[in-house]
Subunit: 330 residues, 2 copies
Amino acid sequence: MNSCSAFAPASVANVGPGFDVFGFALEGAGDTVTARRSDQPGVRLLKIEGDGGRLPVGADNIVCVVAAAMLRAANPGFGIELFLFKGLPLGSGLGSSSASAVAAAAAVNGLLVGAFDNKQLLEFAREGERAACGAAHADNVAASLYGGFTMVAGEPPEVSVLKVPASWHAAVVHPHLELPTKKARAVISPAVSLANHTATLAAAARLVAGIAGGDLAMVGRSVMGDRVATPARAGLIPHYEQVVAAALQKGAAGASISGAGPSIFALTEGLEGAKVIADAMASVWRARGIECDIIVSRMGAPGARLAAEVPHANPLTALLRPLHQDLSAR
Amino acid sequence: MNSCSAFAPASVANVGPGFDVFGFALEGAGDTVTARRSDQPGVRLLKIEGDGGRLPVGADNIVCVVAAAMLRAANPGFGIELFLFKGLPLGSGLGSSSASAVAAAAAVNGLLVGAFDNKQLLEFAREGERAACGAAHADNVAASLYGGFTMVAGEPPEVSVLKVPASWHAAVVHPHLELPTKKARAVISPAVSLANHTATLAAAARLVAGIAGGDLAMVGRSVMGDRVATPARAGLIPHYEQVVAAALQKGAAGASISGAGPSIFALTEGLEGAKVIADAMASVWRARGIECDIIVSRMGAPGARLAAEVPHANPLTALLRPLHQDLSAR
């Protein structure tokens, strides 16, 4: 194989009380990486599309960090050239850096004929996260790699995946306001009161029980039960309270910040309801002159996959296919 | 009805990471309360058995606190006389005060012909907990009242009950060392580091996922993942590390402090294995001159029930029945 492309989906991390622990994958949005064999040793990023020229093309790009770590570990006797197609906005709370890291890990692993298992790919992708935001947190990376609803625990992280009822949907709205993850992490107090710890842990436990038991109402209430990260971060997101209220008014079971924000997600039963909720949420921002993107998705979509498996519905596929064929034909 | 008796089981609270949140009921050990109608208004505790004369017989006894609150709420036009049969040692970490409070609530409710539902009974029983230890925590009370594996969240607490696979068993060993709950609460720092919060929350989430998914190994690892209460409390329990090590060596999936201690529980598959583990744990203390009681039980036994439903296997039944008949015959 001379080249391999992989798609990794956007994801919602934290999911209310599960700061640095919970995540779930979205469908219909994500990043794609093509990895190509090269006789020159080392890693080079040849092109980035979709970032508006904002990402570095050098060795400090997240995809280069991931690919270089994998090359060092596998030592395959060839170098790698990379192409990155950003389908996700930066600093959006949609797991943009994780999607790039996971797509790179999956594409390079394809080129190495599956040399690494998912556990190892998670570690490589986390190296990318560390380069992007200073902390190798695994919540977005796990969700984007494995799909479903994921929980990470321990160091190195062990991932558990829960299946989410197929009818549960997420309405995710991304306002065009950038909130760097580093800034959103800095507002969280390094010390949690015992009462807030206990209340947040209880919400997280009930969120998991609700997914396992198919109780969306309990999951929704639990999503709103975080007392550690959400209260501090909500203040960084203009009109947060109004957007959440709009979602609940349209019947959402619960709503909270997606990842580090500023995107906000809401949960509900059924695709149609999710669209109505997403529109109501977006209207709050739009009425105040803030543009928005909407993602409506199953809660806990499939995780990363090689390009052949990328669904046609994905707008990136059209972009990817010709290039992929072109590369393969060389 | 002139009199009514109820049994409430012992329980394991916290269950590792779930400080003030998780609990599960044990079988074969608990407290029993008989409530009898009286023409005199108010509440009187006529007799306590099994406490070695250590509990107060006045209005500040936990069962009086609970019964008085219920009388005030129901205003039935009669008073109540109470008899308390302690089947559980005090300050043991087995939910002794909760079992008394729940048994009182259930017995008085029987006398009031089921005037209150479980949610209300939980609140009355918590008033007893507040009188006993200064904090109306609901973890033991919920487990003893509802049975199964319970999670409490919010104020007033909402209880979720998870069914535990029938083959999962707990080995619980109670060393004859008293550790007052107040003292065991005082050693827990009022501030939790963000890293410890996250790690403990992840363990709690995985513990719930493990119960829901029938993965005892994951539950066992998660039980050992607490970084908030257990590390501080372990130092109050002589030979804690050795007792846990003995349980793991005999194949326990995990072990930790039961409630506020000093009892220690371990989890395993099957009753026979639990007996072996309990013996190994007790041997550590016994070899050092500390006497022990052993409880071997399903993890998540049934909760409180009226006396007619108390199983014959319970040693308290023999004590209870004649008295109950005697009272009824008056």
